[in-house]
Point group: C3
């Protein structure tokens, strides 16, 4: 028997199956510095212990997306090594803050299965839960991927498609314990705009652009111990459809989030991912721009110092976003649109 991991094929998954993923990972200040070097993030709460402690954190928390990528990366060897496409995300909630020194691991459960009519592939829905060393949840999300069958002669399982919400309800957003925004300093945070300043329908061009290099996205993707082969092997990719290494979609999410600082500088915590699509592939040499639209604003239970913004952040390649490029008249994403992310962010309210 081969000792290498062949990954799971469609018929290897069963409804309710639990997948205990390998390779727990102690995240450290080294990861924090690399995250800054790779994306240039400037959200002050993650950048400075002083800013975090001023509002009740015990230290600077790790960037929410750094946590998401580590939790996600663990699922790849079991869930998506034979994936044809990463189809979607839903009901993603970030949990307790993660600090340097915490150890993260991930467990997934299969919550849906549906074979495609071609009999060659199927869609697998998983709910993945990332936990720290105290078994506290740090991230909890669903995603679905299209996976190859190994043996196409096998019968299809009973189709089961989970009922996933369009968005996390604002009352279900997790607010870190002990937060008190009265100590928040907008000058040091770099933006005067608070929750009340954002209106539904408002669109913001984040203006700046960032070009991606192969060395960068590979270092990032390895840092998350994400083993998806298409990101690393130019020898193999050269023979494929694009001729190039594909960039991990999460790399683009992190770039877009970092770019969104320019216009959303106080939206310090990404609290939930409602939905996400990697609309078109991204390659080294592409320059990423981003814009955001405010989809909802919501107060939070028992809080008058903190509110939530539901945002759509769209990233493009080689296309500035002054006119908010999104979909064409046919309802399809424009070819230069690479990311459509729907999420909740927490932001201080006026005093």
């Amino acid at each position: 028997m081969s000792k290498t991991n062949p990954g799971n094929f469609f018929e290897d998954f069963s409804l309710g199956q639990e997948l205990v993923h390998a390779t727990p990972r102690t995240v450290t200040e080294g990861d924090v510095a690399l995250y800054c070097a790779l994306y240039g993030s400037r959200f002050a709460v993650q950048s400075a212990a002083s800013m975090a402690m001023a509002i009740g954190y015990e230290d600077a928390p790790l960037d929410d997306l750094l946590v998401f990528h580590v939790v996600f990366g663990k699922t790849v060897p079991d869930v998506s090594l034979n994936a044809v496409a990463n189809l979607g995300y839903a009901r993603g909630r970030m949990g307790v803050p993660v600090y340097a020194g915490d150890t993260l691991r991930t467990v997934s459960r299969v919550i849906g299965l549906k074979e495609n009519s071609n009999g060659k592939t199927g869609v697998v829905y998983v709910n993945s839960v990332g936990m720290n060393q105290n078994d506290e949840v740090v991230a909890d999300y669903c995603r679905w991927v299209m996976v190859n069958k190994r043996d196409t002669s096998l019968p299809a399982p009973d189709p089961e498609v989970p009922d996933l919400p369009d968005r996390v309800a604002p009352e279900d957003l997790y607010t870190p314990d002990g937060l008190d925004m009265s100590g928040y300093d907008t000058t040091l945070a770099g933006s005067p705009h608070l929750w009340e300043d954002y209106a539904v329908g408002e669109k913001i061009d984040h203006r700046d652009g960032m070009t991606i290099e192969d060395a960068e996205h590979m270092m990032a993707t390895r840092l998350w111990q994400n083993t998806a082969k298409v990101h690393f092997n130019q020898f193999e990719q050269a023979k494929g459809r694009f001729g190039k290494r594909l960039i991990y979609g999460g790399h683009v999410i992190s770039l877009a989030r970092a770019l969104s600082f320019n216009g959303l500088g106080n939206a310090f915590r990404l609290a939930a991912i409602n939905a996400g699509a990697h609309c078109n592939p991204t390659f080294a040499g592409d320059t990423i721009h981003a814009w955001s639209e405010v989809l909802e604003t919501s107060s939070l239970p028992d809080r008058d110092d903190l509110g939530a913004l539901r945002l759509r952040t769209v990233a493009t390649k080689d296309l500035p976003c002054a006119d908010f490029p999104y979909k064409g008249e046919d309802g399809k994403y424009l070819p230069n649109v690479v990311l459509d992310l729907d999420y909740w962010a927490l932001i201080p309210r006026k005093g």
Copy 2:
């Protein structure tokens, strides 16, 4: 009103104005490792806790230029986002040592303003002060930049050009408290040459060369949270004068300083920047070489174990430095000279 930062234009600055810059940053061992990975620095006091503690530091201090870049990076969104040129530095003094875990922030004051005769741009002089979490000064320097006017019809302000010294006086150099060089080990430091071994006028070719990659300078510049657009956006730069991303001048300073170890291995602390010019632009693919000249040697008040060398370190691109390339007969920098840095370094004296 736009929520993105347009940066300040010339008419937005006023004499005496205080700029409290955003994004305090907790620097860590992660930054130290990245600094080593990016520049290959080998000064032993910054490399090993044992070497630093042997001479009275409480731990290995961060590289002085790492501190400078973080302090400098904070000023960019307010001072130089609309800058046409970074014209000069003066009176830069490094302060208390910075250790992993310290949180740095920067405040600047406008100390000079002079509109150019074309009425389209002006020169802004600022004094920027970086501080740690205890409000101790870690770096204090002046720089001046040429900034665009937004509205060229506005009248020019009264010109005010600050009187800046040619060099920091040696008696004003800050020596970290408690230093005692008797525990310094030249063998482990990698060089036998001490203060007395260097003579005014002596020139040293540092010999080694280092080629810069786009991934490297972008990671560095993001690590300092420096947001100057020309370093990151190839899509935009492709249309410009050079067709390429410009490299942050500080990246070249750090490379030149790291190269200078070969010949100045005991000059362990960069204590002051007297002047600096980024003479020509640097791009990915350029190979940096460097040479240094001893401009002055100075004893330090009340110290017989430590002296100061005033050095000019010149960096070139794609030009080895065996014959010390500098300026042409016309007094202008040769086209391959990219950096002319005048600074003070501290170095142990003979016992």
Copy 3:
């Protein structure tokens, strides 16, 4: 006298000579994160404090090869700056675990000298010992390099070739104190295969491929403070035989070891390097694949929970390893084979 380091030439070495190498280095969590970003290593004991502490380590130890590269890097300025070729390794034993915060340094002794018949070069054999801040040995290995003579008119020294073993004896492998494998979790480690599952002669194709970028290998090599010029200076290399920067052989070793996780996921400690050859040069753009053969299996004295595998790991460039490419009919390495490493790894035994 020049203040720059010319490196040692063949006639500068003498039998029994001790070389106290410069630049002690405090290794940190920053190095650990960079190691993960550069190689994507997934061995669980190094990845997570929880996994390490479950088997008796006090914390997650640094990757053995990270330790080796730091120890090795220190020898370059004294041993191999004028080396023509890195000829071999032998009797390499890893010692006490290294943790973030330890300070490493290296001392070498010249154990052999043999001038080549051409009178222009000679072979220098050194035994290098890396130690931590408590003078405990962390790595102890021999290597031999071909070094240029400065003055070819000098007489040859009496030839002395040390008697080096083919392999470290299993009873000489160092097992970290206090290890108890009963707490080892194969599910979280990502592989079910233990010592008893591997048979002598078994070959494993590690399947995955990883393309190397110039930014990556230069960052790695600088991180180890390895100053060999051929890795960094494209301006100079462009004139040479290959026209490109050569990649540090240790970078390929680390990539091959990280790739070998897929098939050897529980071989958590690289305990000894028996022999190693960098068979062909590697350049940026090359995609590395690897395969391994089990050369020996050995129990360890007084341990029924831990065994040793002697492995040959072979890395290739731009050549997948399904048919285990190695040497041609002429007994020479195939042109795409870049590494042949013979080493011992520790792996848990069945309960």
